[in-house]
């Protein structure tokens, strides 16, 4: 899956631009824009916090991340419970089902990537690759919508995809800044394991509801992965980034649930179901810069 040509979906003011194809409804649009603009502006206020976190990472990277391999395994319990679409559900079970338990599985996943790659760096790369995949998927959906391959596309759905894609792009940039600060090259590709499956699922999508279902699964994977990552990451800056992104993915999930006619907040506690296993970082190039 490739990035759309018009992946930059923000206007000069940095606000989301609807390129979903369907015309906006005139009524109430201005009021809604007015209500949302303040909040969109607030979004840009969060970037300095991100930069501060990443700078902090740079200071801590040399020490904290080196301790990562002695920590409890990453993504321990959730990989076996991958939910969502049929194809995504066929992903390999992760640590919980492997002999030796979570720590052994996490360690076992690392040598192929280079035993000297700190676990926090692996997690950042895995996160970046999942975000890249989300960007690519939403981009492909918007392209398909523009080409009238999905039937009628409501304006609100087009706007959702456009803004969500822009946010995932920001998330990928944040994780890649972490990699760069840790002296690794950015991960610009989609996660190969998940991309191969999403590509197959996407090929079967024929309408907006199908796209929403696929997006819901991807957003759920991201949210669950960050929930696992928060307790597995050792660097405070990396924890802060994961903690600041996870609620946003959860918000995407809520809106998608609502769009699909489901109760939007069904769980009182975030679920680990569907969290990406650390082995999903296989195939990513962790190259020192």
């Amino acid at each position: 899956m490739t990035y759309p040509e018009n992946a930059d979906t923000r206007d000069d003011a940095g606000r989301g631009v609807d390129r979903g194809g369907a015309p906006d409804m005139a009524i109430s649009e201005s009021e809604l824009r007015s209500l949302t603009n303040d909040m969109v502006d607030a979004h840009h206020d969060t970037f300095p916090q991100m930069r501060a976190s990443i700078a902090e990472w740079e200071e801590l990277e040399g020490e904290s991340t080196r301790r990562a391999l002695s920590r409890r395994g990453f993504l321990a319990t959730a990989g076996a419970m991958i939910a969502g679409g049929v194809a995504l559900a066929a992903l390999p079970a992760a640590a919980a089902t492997r002999p030796g338990g979570a720590l052994a599985a996490a360690r076992a996943g690392l040598p192929a990537m280079g035993s000297d790659v700190p676990l926090d760096v692996v997690v950042a790369g895995l996160a970046a690759s999942l975000e890249n995949l989300a960007v690519a998927t939403y981009g492909a959906a918007l392209k398909a919508a523009s080409a009238h391959k999905l039937g009628p596309v409501p304006a609100a759905i087009g706007n959702f995809a456009t803004v969500a894609m822009a946010q995932h792009k920001d998330h990928a940039a944040a994780w890649n800044s972490v990699l760069v600060s840790a002296k690794y090259k950015p991960i610009t590709a989609s996660n190969p394991l998940y991309a191969s499956i999403v590509d197959k699922d996407f090929a079967k999508v024929a309408d907006v509801a199908g796209v929403a279902e696929l997006a819901l699964t991807l957003e759920g994977v991201a949210a669950a992965t960050y929930l696992e990552a928060i307790k597995a990451l050792s660097t405070p800056a990396a924890v802060a980034i994961a903690a600041s992104i996870q609620p946003v993915e959860m918000q995407h999930v809520a809106v998608l649930n609502f769009v699909l006619g489901r109760y939007p907040v069904p769980l009182a506690f975030g679920s680990l179901s569907g969290a990406a296993p650390v082995s999903a970082a296989h195939g990513l190039d962790f190259v020192k810069s």
Binding site: D24, M25, I27, L32, T77, P154, I230, P247, V255, V265
Partner: protein
């Protein structure tokens, strides 16, 4: 109102089943974290940097551990002593943070309870989707409060049963003004966003893995509440209250409705409550 209450009830019932499964998984996960922590510390698998950081930032807990272990003990024995307490990874800071979280939840429960007594939220004139959301959300906050208090107890602290005192003033001040759904939604957004931002911050501060895991599992749910409330507020402001249905009349809605619920790519912490604001005095 285009709304199938029976269908909504079924959806919620299904989600409750999922919720029960999630709770079981969560408990298992938290139990595992506690056990792993105990085992690691019992084996002395803690590196020097971690010990020093723990010692510096949690000196009170360390003193308590040393006292429990006897007068002349080394650092390893002190850590071992800590590992044998229920609060092995805990510290007063963590308990205070959790008490503040419980206080925020207590206030949310009380506030949604008051909202449900209003005819346009919980009465005959209420939008059924909004009523269901308020009812369900209140229940989720009850569960959050119970979970935070369980975590506090596990760390040897005193459960917090009172509301956050500072936010309570905000709610008390707002109560007389709650004359329509939009004003209730505004107040709910303030509380939910305050909770979400507090927990985002807490997730990076808490030392106890159990508490960190729990808090992280709740912050996203509060953010989801915010997302739905933002969407509801926007629709009410746009005169589209009748379109607050499940499923929504998506083709009718303005484009902005699709993203009004998630205005930021990164969740802010500027509205996070001070860590000790709701601590038991």
């Amino acid at each position: 109102m285009d709304h199938d209450e029976h269908g909504l009830g079924q959806l919620i019932e299904q989600s409750d089943d999922i919720q029960a499964d999630a709770m079981r998984a969560s408990r298992a996960s938290l139990h595992e974290v506690v056990e792993v922590g105990r085992e690691r510390r019992a084996r002395g698998e803690i590196d020097q940097e971690e010990v020093e950081e723990f010692s510096t930032r949690r000196s009170a807990a360390l003193r308590q551990g040393l006292a429990g272990a006897g007068a002349a003990v080394g650092l390893g024995a002190a850590i071992l002593a800590l590992s044998q307490t229920s609060a092995f990874a805990a510290a007063p800071g963590d308990v205070q943070i959790l008490q503040t979280a419980a206080a925020i939840e207590n206030l949310a429960v009380a506030t949604y309870g008051v909202a449900l007594t209003l005819p346009f939220i919980g009465g005959a004139s209420a939008n059924p989707v909004v009523k269901t959301f308020v009812t369900k959300t209140r229940q989720q906050h009850i569960e959050h409060a119970a979970a935070f208090n369980a975590s506090i107890r596990a760390l040897g602290g005193k459960p917090q049963t009172k509301p956050d005192p500072v936010l309570l003033q905000v709610v008390d001040k707002a109560k007389p003004t709650l004359t329509n759904p939009a004003k209730v939604v505004d107040l709910a957004i303030t509380l939910e966003n305050g909770a979400a931002e507090t927990y985002v911050k807490d997730a990076g501060v808490l030392k106890d893995l159990n508490a960190k895991d729990l808090t992280a599992s709740i912050m996203g749910v509060e953010a989801q509440h915010v997302a739905i409330l933002l969407a509801v507020r926007a629709l009410l402001a746009g005169g589209l209250g009748a379109d607050i249905t499940l499923p929504p009349p998506i083709a009718k809605l303005p484009a902005a409705a699709g993203s009004v619920g998630f205005p930021n790519a990164f969740y802010s912490t500027t509205a996070a409550r001070p860590a000790t604001e709701g601590a038991v005095r």
